[in-house]
Symmetry: C2
């Protein structure tokens, strides 16, 4: 098998043993709390990768219709498209629904429900629909105690062209929870509020087959997830510096890295210049608000060993500048021209999106499989 030194840089690397360890950690939570795990495949968008954490025909979450089509073509049947639907996507949604019986869309307003009702007249089989609930003032969703929630559910249930499947939420606010206690509280809030939404619908005679919630930080919080029956999360399989910065994982758990070469130096500034710029690492600076700002990524040697204090402090399109947090001089042998380094991503979803494939390595650093991914909408 080949080593990383046979690759052209930059390249995206997955450490398979860390990847599998992370996956097992989330699966253990779902088993412990007796929940269906519906992994979000948006981080890697790869069938080969999904074989590890989202087995064929198991339920998945997707972020684009392109993902839905890619996974449906491979036999996935229960696909939740977790972005509020608009009419310009109806034609593809109809085709998806005919292909994958449990393909499910999400709505969060009467305007969206009314638009779909008008379209649904022409459907030959019912389209699966869920309502999104806002539990953390973070993004989209209906409030659990709102009249609108009940009105939307009633309108969906009233037509045989739509099948109301339940309620879902995503406590993205957990990404701002820097303590275990705050994440535990957010997980409890997420479960309690989505359960309350389901209860209010139940009281109105509307059954929720699915009560679905999750984000990586809340899924991995100290919480028994009472009140939900389905857990959703995505970035846990690789983790990243944002998750490590929150304390959800350690930096050593991060299973993704960008392989890069030292292309030069500016010795008077103690800079090492590499061929991973923002095109490879992404522009995500999600740790800028953290106690430890990892810039555009933390630096490891080619074997994945974290080099304490070294980070990508600046990027251009195809150039990254590595410097030490205390301005130290780079070690001449470690950072020699042509040397390989590996950069831990700030946000794995954003970094992965910059690549069309992943190099999967074993514990000896040998490349086994190469996983392709899709992009676009």
């Amino acid at each position: 098998m080949n080593s990383l030194s046979t690759l052209m840089t930059p390249a995206c690397v997955i450490d398979d043993s860390k990847f599998q360890r992370n996956i097992q950690r989330m699966q253990a939570v779902a088993e412990r709390d007796n929940l269906v795990l519906r992994p979000h495949v948006k981080t890697l968008k790869s069938l080969a990768a999904a074989e590890r954490y989202a087995p064929s025909n198991g339920p998945i979450t997707v972020s684009t219709l392109a993902e839905a089509e890619y996974f449906a073509a491979a036999g996935y049947d229960d696909i939740l498209y977790a972005v509020g639907l608009v009419p310009n996507k109806y034609a593809r949604v109809q085709a998806l629904s005919e292909r994958a019986g449990k393909f499910t869309v999400v709505l969060d307003s009467m305007a969206a429900v009314n638009a779909l009702l008008a379209f649904a007249e022409k459907l030959e089989q019912p389209l699966q629909v869920m309502l999104e609930v806002d539990v953390d003032d973070h993004r989209a969703g209906l409030l659990p105690m709102s009249d609108a929630l009940r009105e939307c559910a009633k309108a969906i249930q009233a037509t045989p062209k739509l099948h109301f499947r339940g309620v879902m939420t995503h406590a993205g606010g957990s990404y701002d929870c820097f303590t275990q206690q705050s994440r535990d509280a957010m997980a409890l809030q997420e479960c309690q509020l989505i359960a309350k939404a389901a209860l209010r619908l139940h009281e109105a005679g509307i059954n929720c087959e699915l009560v679905s919630a999750g984000s990586t930080p809340t899924a991995l919080a100290n919480c028994n997830h009472k009140g939900i029956n389905e857990l959703r999360a995505g970035v846990y399989a690789t983790f990243d510096c944002v998750m490590a910065g929150l304390g959800v994982c350690s930096f050593d758990d991060i299973a993704m890295s960008v392989l890069t070469s030292v292309i030069g130096h500016q010795t008077d500034k103690n800079w090492v210049i590499v061929d991973a710029g923002w095109m490879a690492l992404s522009r995500d600076q999600g740790t800028a608000s953290h106690a430890k700002d990892c810039g555009y990524g933390l630096v490891c040697d080619q074997y994945g060993k974290l080099l304490d204090g070294w980070y990508v402090s600046s990027t251009n399109q195809e150039h990254g500048i590595i410097s030490h947090i205390d301005g130290k001089q780079p070690d001449a042998s470690l950072f020699a021209y042509g040397n390989l380094l590996r950069i831990l991503p700030i946000h794995a979803c954003a970094t992965a999106a910059q690549f069309s494939e992943y190099q999967v390595i074993n514990e000896q650093g040998e490349i086994g499989e190469v996983w392709s991914r899709i992009s676009g909408w």
Copy 2:
């Protein structure tokens, strides 16, 4: 011809008349100052787009070997790969050099020169090489007055396997020049220092066929570009909010936008939620340091009219949150569910990279051509 309302969102749109106006502006500078214009094709990475601003067989700059191969396959012969070369790219560089006779690589250290010299033994025809010069303490490059610059050039010139073509620089520091005066000064500095580097080599008996410099802000500065014979720039063809924020163009000059749909609202927060998140807009927040922070992009109506004060204040992967800089309530008709909006990109290179094609519209908003692009390395 179709209008934008026939598209699925998000989509990347190029306003062709603005695009051509921007291109003409840069071409006029090159003609005025009697310079060869070597456009950087890294922003759009599209042959169809390049037909507008980098005619076939004209000189171009690229940021990846994938771009070089894509343009070489279409007949481009004079291609400058403007990222410091490392050995893991030699095999592809050799193949490119055999295909495109003036394919040119860039080095900036004796370590890089020595590595290439060792490889060059096996070349059957000379590889074109330039040296990168640092004129603004911004990124890579040899200092103009350094001994290393002369040593590198001498070593390159000493072997028939390499052909020394000249010196190049990119005053990326111009992106921090917020006044006309400072951009004019930076342009002068860029030209004077690269000219000095060329002169020092000339004094050592080494001829620079090319003395190449440029960045969009310095190329468009009040400067006669004396001392160089080649001008390089890229983002000028579309411009973006970073360029407008600097004052290099107006916001109305920006020829790229991301078409998006209103997917929902949070009325108590005065938020409009759209289906362009960071996956469509990129994570670039390059105006965060500007007097006017445009967030993840400024908001226009579907006809491209800027909606004063409205910007994308926050993004998740497939969700964007639009709010008003003064917290205003969104106009119900303008921001109704399902409505189309267009977002001006913060950084066109980063936004364009998120798409595989561009929808090209005329002044009536009708879609003419669809230009495909490449990605990857």
